[in-house]
């Protein structure tokens, strides 16, 4: 998570208008969901990887790392789709070619979709997407919630990490049962701290004139129509190309 966030804030395409990244990514995502997966899938995955690595300058290792976790889940799911269980005459396990085909299609489609989204998350920090979400008509209350959660995740991830390290230094994880106990204590402690912190944040915000509305200046990037058009054309070509293969 920390790595994704780091690259989102520092990649070469950080200062591009978020729409230039969001629109192509979502369009390609849509294509992978509606077109035949074995054709569009590999193309989409190659395209997003090329854009993430070659365009935004994010190391291939990081991209593969982000894809690895969902890929592992998909891999683990293949046997369950490929092998069917039947109770017709007693109990039997069938290996069905149709099932294998289905499993393959599902996995490729899902992986390609993850590729589109990871391109977006790796190149665009959450903060940049907020103005678009706002313009799309999401209520202010929900946007404030997103903002606060985004900010607090990092505060608590850090507290949880240092808390765990401090417990480990006092041998809190030296045995399985101690580890369970320590984890419980840490969770309880983080909960209390969250409440105390919320109260102090309220004081801090009140000192700055908080009146029930978390207004901040919106980030502004110039939108380049030619770049957006180019990206959309490439996405369109990818869709067409999948038809010719």
């Amino acid at each position: 998570m920390q790595a994704i966030d780091h690259y989102a804030w520092t990649n070469r395409w950080r200062n591009r208008h978020p729409l230039e990244k969001l629109l192509p990514a979502l369009t390609l995502l849509l294509l992978t969901l509606v077109l035949p997966p074995l054709r569009i899938g590999p193309l989409a995955l190659a395209g997003t990887t090329l854009a993430t690595v070659g365009g935004a300058g994010i190391p291939l290792k990081t991209v593969l790392g982000v894809l690895a976790a969902p890929a592992a889940f998909l891999l683990a799911g293949i046997p369950f789709l490929a092998i069917s269980l039947s109770f017709n005459d007693g109990f039997s396990l069938h290996f069905s070619p149709d099932g294998l085909q289905l499993a393959l299609e599902t996995s490729v489609r899902a992986l390609a979709a993850v590729g589109c989204l990871s391109f977006l998350t790796l190149t665009t920090p959450m903060a940049d997407l907020i103005p678009l979400v706002r313009r799309a008509g999401v209520p202010a209350g929900i946007i404030e919630l997103i903002l606060l959660i985004y900010r607090l995740i990092f505060v608590f991830a850090e507290r949880a990490l240092t808390g765990r390290q401090a417990q480990a230094a006092r041998l809190g994880y030296s045995r399985f049962d101690r580890g369970l106990r320590s984890t419980g204590l840490l969770a309880g402690n983080l909960f209390q701290r969250a409440l105390a912190r919320a109260r102090r944040l309220e004081i801090g915000l009140a000192a700055r004139g908080y009146a029930g509305d978390l207004k901040v200046l919106q980030l502004e990037w110039p939108l380049s129509w030619p770049r957006l058009a180019l990206a959309m054309t490439l996405v369109g070509l990818t869709g067409l190309a999948s038809g010719w293969i």
Binding site: D5, P125, R208, G209, Y210, K215, L217, Q218, L219
Partner: protein
């Protein structure tokens, strides 16, 4: 004589659980001064600061802003907090937005400024604290010292007349402290009134015009820094120690030297002569 910018007279404050945090506290903040509220850990300094911008309301006693008794209705509080900016000790308690520039813009926008005006005040505050280059950085990737500056900038961008800081130097390394004090000195020269709570007698001696010695919820004495900090008995009562620089300076026949370098220079010269 003009009324002080902010005055607390006979202020008592009891927590909801009945524990008295402030008792019969008197404090005046004159316009343009640098005042240090000096007290040991747990003496109630933060509680006192929370009274300076109306976060807490005294159970007894009066607070006057420009000689006028304060009110606690929404409009009065808004105006009060525009004039008196409070920076909490823990910057994490104050920062909430995703980027530095956005976070600093929160206060100005709450004052009802237009986006252009807010942007200008944000830039001005970031420049004053020498962190203009951080404007587009993600808040959670900053170092502690940087977060501290951003928290101060967030208040500064509201252009308060009085800036109150809770333990501003806590957790900073010596270079961080020096840079922060430089920035605060610049602000002071442009007319800002500064109040800070600290337990650091050396800092109070080097930096403040006036010192309020604070102990168990009350100000024992508010006076010129060189006078109040020379009162060893009083400091002992407040569980504090007189500053080393002051002790050394008193050993010299020359008038009090408050700068570390000037004092060391004097001492070096003296020791050489007497060798």
């Amino acid at each position: 004589m003009t009324a002080p910018l902010l005055a607390l007279c006979g202020v008592d404050y009891a927590y909801p659980n009945g524990v008295m945090a402030l008792r019969g506290l008197n404090l005046t903040v004159a316009k343009g001064q640098k005042l240090a509220i000096l007290g040991a850990n747990g003496s109630g300094k933060t509680t006192l600061l929370l009274h300076l911008n109306g976060t807490l309301q005294p159970t007894r006693g009066a607070i006057r802003l420009d000689g006028q008794p304060v009110r606690y209705d929404h409009r009065a509080l808004t105006d009060w907090r525009r004039r008196v900016g409070l920076v909490l000790q823990e910057p994490e308690d104050q920062l909430f937005a995703a980027t530095v520039g956005q976070d600093v813009s929160f206060g100005p926008l709450n004052l009802g400024l237009s986006e252009a005006e807010a942007r200008e005040q944000v830039n001005e505050a970031l420049t004053a604290l020498e962190i203009a280059d951080l404007a587009d950085r993600a808040t959670h990737t900053l170092s502690f010292g940087q977060k501290k500056r951003v928290a101060i900038a967030g208040i500064l961008a509201m252009r308060p007349e009085l800036l109150a800081l809770d333990e501003p130097t806590a957790g900073l390394d010596s270079q961080g402290v020096a840079r922060l004090l430089d920035a605060l000195q610049q602000l002071h020269e442009t007319g800002a009134t500064l109040v800070f709570a600290t337990h650091d007698v050396e800092l109070a001696y080097a930096w403040a015009d006036q010192v309020a010695i604070f102990h168990q919820g009350t100000v024992l004495r508010q006076d010129e820094a060189t006078v109040a900090l020379a009162d060893r008995d009083l400091l002992r009562r407040a569980r504090l120690q007189s500053p080393l620089l002051l002790e050394l300076a008193q050993l010299l026949p020359e008038p009090l030297l408050r700068s570390r370098d000037a004092l060391l220079e004097q001492l070096r010269r003296r020791l050489k002569i007497e060798d």
